[in-house]
């Protein structure tokens, strides 16, 4: 245990004293979050499309609709509840206002107690939009009460939640950037390994009684530490700077962080098994990570991709890491069920490790 820790600390020192490595492992993902955050956090100032479901079809409900339509920030889209829910899950609209049947009747015999309720569906993961819509609906309900019943509360607002997809928010991007960072830290691990082999460091270690598994374990430990730091940095900036809310299952998210880091680290080991020189490694690592980044759909929703791209993305492990993180961190809509995400990442992990174990050469 002492040797393992010593070796890990040595590797950690090697990393933290290497400015280029520091940049790629820590500052690059942070830069990404900041850049994307600034680019996309402005999108909520445009009009928010809200589904409007009128189940009462009365004068009162028509009146309400007119009032809502006058709110400058809101754009109404009429439809049935089922249609609107589907649209919201798809990310086309941000909230749904439901005027239940019987509203007019209830208001007519209002006695001062809340006797009818407007239902409002919002997505808690989309903080800004949700706040705007909730505020608007509450104000209108108040005004309605004031006009109809002299201030006594006859119409209440029932807050409901529904998860939606919104492509242009930081919320969507934080898990994506985290997935990217985890992929990079794993794949980039090939470079120092090849370097250490080329320089004879691995061979020199082989001439000591240090068991090889400890050499491997310390490498894994180092990368998992980096993964944890990256995760804290990226999520921290998301929360502190861009007010992103983590609403998912954080334990499962942590599981995906480590599974993802492990799978891509195994991929890094596998690459290192086939690469001979440091120059080769730096080149090939870029060739591998670039398409992973841009073809796996972590930065744009799966549904928006052309068919052929989608089938490419379905082959790439990063798609499933992004999907797993998005589902567990912000309740994003899924590309595949969580179990499938985990199984595919686990499969990559196992296959890459087996290939590495067979092909990796120490000198």
């Amino acid at each position: 245990m002492k040797t393992l820790l010593g070796l890990t600390v040595a590797n950690l020192k090697g990393l933290t004293r290497d400015r280029a490595a520091l940049f790629w492992t820590f500052f690059f993902p942070v830069m990404f979050v900041l850049l994307f955050g600034v680019l996309f956090s402005g999108s909520s100032t445009t009009k928010i499309t809200v589904g409007f479901v009128d189940q009462d079809n009365s004068q009162a409900s028509m009146g309400l609709r007119n009032v809502f339509a006058q709110v400058p920030l809101l754009k109404l889209q009429d439809g049935t509840l089922d249609d609107e829910k589907a649209a919201m899950q798809h990310g086309d609209i941000s909230a749904i206002i439901v005027i239940p049947s019987g509203l007019e009747a209830a208001v007519a015999k209002a006695e001062g107690h809340p006797s009818a309720a407007i239902e409002l569906f919002t997505d808690p993961a989309q903080t800004q939009t949700t706040q705007v819509v909730q505020g608007a609906v509450a104000q209108i309900a108040n005004g309605f009460n004031l006009a109809l019943a002299g201030g006594s509360e006859v119409v209440a607002v029932n807050q409901m939640t529904l998860t939606s997809t919104n492509i242009s928010t930081v919320t969507y991007l934080v898990p994506s950037i985290l997935a990217m960072a985890l992929m990079q830290l794993g794949v980039f691990a090939a470079v120092p390994l090849v370097q250490q082999r080329e320089k004879g460091i691995l061979k020199r270690m082989g001439a000591t009684p240090l068991p090889r598994w400890k050499l491997v374990a310390s490498n894994i430990l180092l990368r998992l530490i980096v993964a944890a730091v990256d995760t804290v940095l990226i999520i921290g900036i998301g929360i502190l700077v861009f007010n992103v809310q983590m609403v998912g299952n954080l334990a499962a998210a942590a599981g995906f962080v480590f599974l993802g880091a492990g799978a891509f680290l195994a991929l890094g080991f596998m690459l290192a098994s086939f690469l001979k020189t440091e120059e080769q490694a730096t080149g090939v690592v870029q060739v591998v990570q670039m398409p992973l980044m841009f073809l796996s759909g972590i930065f744009f929703p799966f549904d928006f991709m052309p068919d052929f791209l989608r089938s490419v993305a379905r082959l790439l492990p990063l798609t499933y890491l992004g999907d797993g993180l998005r589902q567990t961190m912000v309740n994003g809509t899924q590309v595949a069920p969580l179990a499938t995400d985990a199984a595919i990442l686990g499969g990559w992990l196992v296959v890459c490790l087996i290939v590495s174990a067979r092909k990796f050469s120490w000198d």
Partner: protein
């Protein structure tokens, strides 16, 4: 320490092939306790492969290889606890300091020498906090020797320890090796410098193309082949080497590194005859000199080519 009569290294019929390349093709030798044993040969002779098999870094294809009486294939771990290894031109974790590297390597062994003592032994005190990437070539080489001594080994392997060093660096490294021997360590080293082998080694094996051509103490190796001394001068086409054999006292004539070398039983006779011949041809042999035969001559005699090419 119990002195055993058992040799520290025993190699018999060692073969190691890489595809069609017979890197080591049937090599046998022993190294006694407290001995400094040198393997001499040009690049590609099979020295490094042999030493790496002994260090447990490569499995032999055939033959028996024992260190401390233990089979290297069966007991690599316990052998590695007791040997010190310096590999050919290794740069270590570039961003760790001398102290950090020695501490790290010390942690791999059951017993280790205090780092300060090691730094002292290789005279790196002023650079103890320097990162290994910032050390000079000689300092890096001394560091890698210190790393080889971190477990106070009984047997130290040095693979071309002075390659790439300036003469001063080479001298200070030689002193280190002599110090090891004085402390009763066994040392096996490879080199392609004749003077290094002559200076440091109790016994030398001359290796070429995967074979040991000759083995023994340096004076013995020279004496076995050369009863003569050597007369040498800068080669010139006017004094063709083919005609030199006829001169008085000359047993054999050869050309190496731009010099014509005449091995002679009677130097006075040979020089007289040479100068008379030169006079007759109106040439003046440049850099004329006399020396004892060296390992270099032995190697040339054995292989027909100079060691450093």
């Amino acid at each position: 320490m119990t002195q055993s009569r058992e040799p520290v290294i025993r190699v018999s019929g060692l073969k190691k092939f890489y595809g069609d390349v017979k890197a080591v093709d049937g090599v046998s030798f022993e190294v006694g306790r407290g001995e400094v044993f040198g393997m001499l040969g040009p690049n590609g002779a099979g020295k490094t492969t042999t030493i790496e098999v002994l260090e447990g870094l490569r499995p032999p294809d055939s033959g028996t290889v024992e260190v401390f009486g233990l089979d290297v294939c069966k007991h690599p771990e316990s052998i590695k606890q007791r040997i010190g290894v310096q590999l050919q031109s290794v740069s270590l974790y570039p961003r760790l300091t001398v102290t950090e590297l020695l501490d790290l390597f010390g942690s791999f062994f059951k017993h280790s020498v205090p780092t300060a003592q090691l730094i002292d032994a290789v005279d790196l005190g002023e650079r103890a906090k320097a990162r290994s990437m910032n050390l000079s070539g000689g300092q890096q080489q001394r560091l890698s020797i210190a790393l080889a001594l971190v477990n106070d080994p009984e047997l130290v392997f040095l693979d071309e320890p002075t390659t790439g060093l300036d003469p001063q660096g080479r001298r200070s490294l030689w002193d280190l090796v002599k110090g090891l021997q004085a402390r009763g360590k066994s040392v096996m080293l490879t080199t392609h410098y004749m003077e290094e082998a002559a200076e440091l080694c109790d016994r030398v094996a001359i290796m070429d193309h995967g074979h040991i051509l000759e083995m023994g103490a340096v004076p013995e190796l020279i004496g076995r082949r050369f009863k003569e001394r050597a007369v040498f001068f800068d080669s010139t086409p006017k004094l063709p080497v083919e005609q030199m054999g006829k001169l008085g006292g000359v047993t054999r004539a050869a050309q190496e590194d731009g010099q014509t070398v005449l091995y002679s039983r009677d130097v006075a006779d040979t020089i007289g005859a040479l100068l008379a011949m030169a006079d007759g041809l109106n040439v003046d042999p440049h850099n004329l000199g006399i020396r004892q035969a060296t390992l270099e001559d032995v190697f040339l005699d054995l292989t027909g080519r100079a060691l450093r090419d």
